[in-house]
Symmetry: C2
Subunit: 458 residues, 2 copies
């Protein structure tokens, strides 16, 4: 038998008791958020119209460790700690001397890492007296995670689902409903925003921006209703660090030191979740050995082609402007299959760390992603989500480099979700209908033109 098992199991009693907040260890702190119209510095309380007070407090805390409430740990214990796998079969197929590991977050009914933040968000909202949560969903991973979490914690949930997604992904909708969520195709007649849109464009396929408008309107109208977001914000990234904290412990158990840590990058919570606990330790200890690589699609290259600027998190500027790497909130990426990576901007924390040269970024093409996903599936027998497959592509590239150099590098990537609900995308690829969606100079200029200008240099 091999010395390191396929499955590096972390016992339940070693599941983290606190989340890790990298804001405590960042060499440069985050610039403040600003009012979307005036550009004035906005106080934390500006977020409380939408988000529950406990989560707003978490958004700005500089404490290094935040205790995970006992009830949240109980919920986590129903699917965590998550496995760390050694990809022996993939290593063999590639013929690489590299040691490839992946931390798998797809073994829960939401199918992705999103549940790690959905549970505490539902919990803190309940603690704050919130009775009903609203959110929007496009691809459906976040909506599903929040449906599972609100059902575990006995809360009501309205999910505004982009109409065309609800039509094209009926199974995602059914899954949310099986977990008790109220799923509303957006635009809908349940909000003033929805009714106004429908009056003007009765046949619109909907958009994430429209769905956000509806979810936000409902939350704004009633103090017992709050809104939740599945990525980007600091508190979401904080909750996801449970991944990286477990990973650190698992790597210590098998006495491996990561040379490269890789995660796919949409709004930043997956990448931050796996990378920040290790990066934070490096920062505290002054170590620079490990490389941290965020992987984005070539069609939506906010880190490799965007700018570090204030921008809106939504499409129209209803929430405070945040300091982020962004392609402009008006940027619309080409239709790629990794819906979770089509976001125009990035987590403020991740953006700052990237700006400071502490993490790297790479953009990969869609066909390379699918090719890598199927190679991975063939040998590791998990069909990855197309989002997660971006990390696989980068990991395989790194492992192939080791063939040439002979280095036994330790490559760790986050497998953030499974592809059980992405089969149409795989079928498209296998039929030869997936092409690489490139990012053009025109797109770059048009997107950048939508950035707000507050006369502030970041």
């Amino acid at each position: 038998m091999k010395k390191i098992p396929n499955h590096v199991h972390l016992p339940i009693d070693r599941m983290p008791k606190a989340w890790y907040n990298i804001q405590a260890d960042m060499p440069n702190k985050l610039p403040p958020m600003r009012h979307p119209v005036t550009g004035e510095i906005a106080p934390p309380a500006a977020m409380e119209a939408l988000f529950s007070p406990s989560l707003v407090e978490q958004e700005f805390t500089q404490e290094r460790y935040i205790d995970i409430p006992e009830r949240v740990r109980e919920c986590y214990a129903q699917y965590r700690p998550s496995p760390l796998y050694r990809a022996y079969a993939l290593e063999k197929a590639l013929g690489t001397p590299a040691h490839i590991y992946y931390k798998y977050e797809g073994n829960n009914p939401s199918g992705s890492h999103k549940l790690n933040s959905a549970i505490p968000q539902a919990y803190y909202n309940a603690q704050d007296g919130v009775k009903r949560i609203t959110t929007e969903t496009g691809a459906g991973q976040w909506g599903t995670a929040l449906a599972v979490a609100t059902q575990m914690l006995g809360m009501a949930l309205d999910v505004y689902m982009v109409r065309v997604s609800a039509q094209q992904k009926p199974y995602r909708k059914m899954l949310m409903e099986a977990f008790g969520a109220n799923v509303i195709a957006s635009p809908s007649d349940t909000t003033a925003a929805g009714r106004a849109i429908l009056a003007e464009m009765p046949d619109t396929p909907g958009s994430l921006g429209m769905a956000i408008s509806e979810a936000v309107e409902v939350a704004m109208a009633d103090p017992a209703v709050k809104y939740c977001l599945g990525s980007v914000l600091n508190h979401v990234v904080l909750h996801q660090t449970v991944i990286g904290l477990e990973l650190m412990d698992q790597l210590d158990m098998i006495e491996e030191v990561a040379d490269i840590v890789i995660g796919c990058n949409g709004g930043g919570s997956n990448f931050g979740g796996i990378a920040f606990p290790l990066l934070g330790r490096d920062l505290r200890e002054g170590k620079k050995h490990t490389r941290y690589i965020a992987v984005e699609p070539s069609a939506c290259p906010k880190l490799t082609q965007g700018v570090y600027s204030y921008d809106f998190t939504d499409a129209i500027g209803m929430t405070p402007a945040l300091p982020m790497y962004t392609l402009g909130h008006g940027f619309i990426p080409q239709g790629i299959h990794a819906g979770g990576l089509r976001y125009h901007a990035d987590s403020p924390i991740l953006s700052r760390l990237y700006h400071d040269g502490l993490i790297e970024a790479v953009a990969v093409d869609q066909t390379h992603v699918f090719e890598s996903a199927l190679l991975f599936a063939k040998h590791e027998i998990i069909l990855p989500a197309p989002e997660s497959a971006h990390a696989i592509a980068a990991a395989i590239d790194a492992a192939r480099e080791c063939i040439a150099t002979g280095e036994e590098k330790v490559i760790v990537f986050g497998l953030s979700g499974n592809g059980n609900f992405d089969l149409a995308a795989y079928s498209n690829y296998l039929s030869g209908n997936v092409v690489d969606a490139k990012f053009s100079d025109d797109q770059k200029q048009q997107g950048a033109a939508t950035l707000p200008d507050y006369g502030v240099k970041l």
Copy 2:
């Protein structure tokens, strides 16, 4: 923290090294198989036209333990040992003093226990020089499992998928294709049988019987092609005992003794897989403490309403007749959502043990099954396959009895698969469109009339 963790983890080095064959410990041996037409006793070699010699040998062996080949254990290690979960959240929701455990087989890309036999079947076929495997699939679990297994072991696979299933379950088809299988909607023009059916009924939705005919024809025509079956046969049940062997070890680890072991029952491989290792130990030690309960749908009640008789495993008698509990191979159950439990007959081993009073059977209604499934999903956050949910319904019934009696019974059930590809069924139930499909006296008589009569008393 609780004394017994949610997740009873079995380390990889305790994964079973041999399967358990209950034929060695049965008080009454299996009657021989017979020629489907003449009723003469058929020799084992009669199966070799269809099945690879190694598997035919396993079908008849009386050895108690069969070593699991090292390569098969390597493949198993990519998803096994499977977790045993303590259902604390469900217990609390029910308010039962019972200890409820479930052994979960859904954490692999096929989504069910079927992979446990698909891997050794692919392996032994490869050992015997077989280059291509054929099979049929209805609901798709078996086809998916064999696709994953043949891809892991580098073999080709043709899956004849019932045409209406391929249309209604496009994601199942795509999943098999993502794992490299050649999926053919049946009836097809690739076989003489298919062409004959199409000539007569060009618009037929297809049936499992037609798909079997095509898969068998292809296997019969070429010595380098063999056919594989996902349940019923002794060697399939044998491979599935890896579940019960792990379970025995896991229960010993936490010092619990099962009062009741429950499994859903279609062709018998899931139930046999979880129950036979424990039952075999009871038989050897003369213990009668544990109850073993096979759960079937009320609409297809082969154990509770069928007869112990020789019958065909397929719809038309192409294979030897086996001694089974059966409703008659001509019986067509009403359209229930648990496609995997609609089979007319049962594994010969399970049938014999039931006939000898060593296991019990219970039939449950479809609406009770879905209600139980959603209660389970709400608290244990796994959406079960409708098949597996039959076991959940029986386990919940048993746990509710303990509320009245105050007994802390240890109830263990097999959660054989997840419901990620059964969302249409859940959606139907939530929309109020699922009704209990009853079994009528007419159906019973019509089915029994199709039994072959060889003048032999079992």
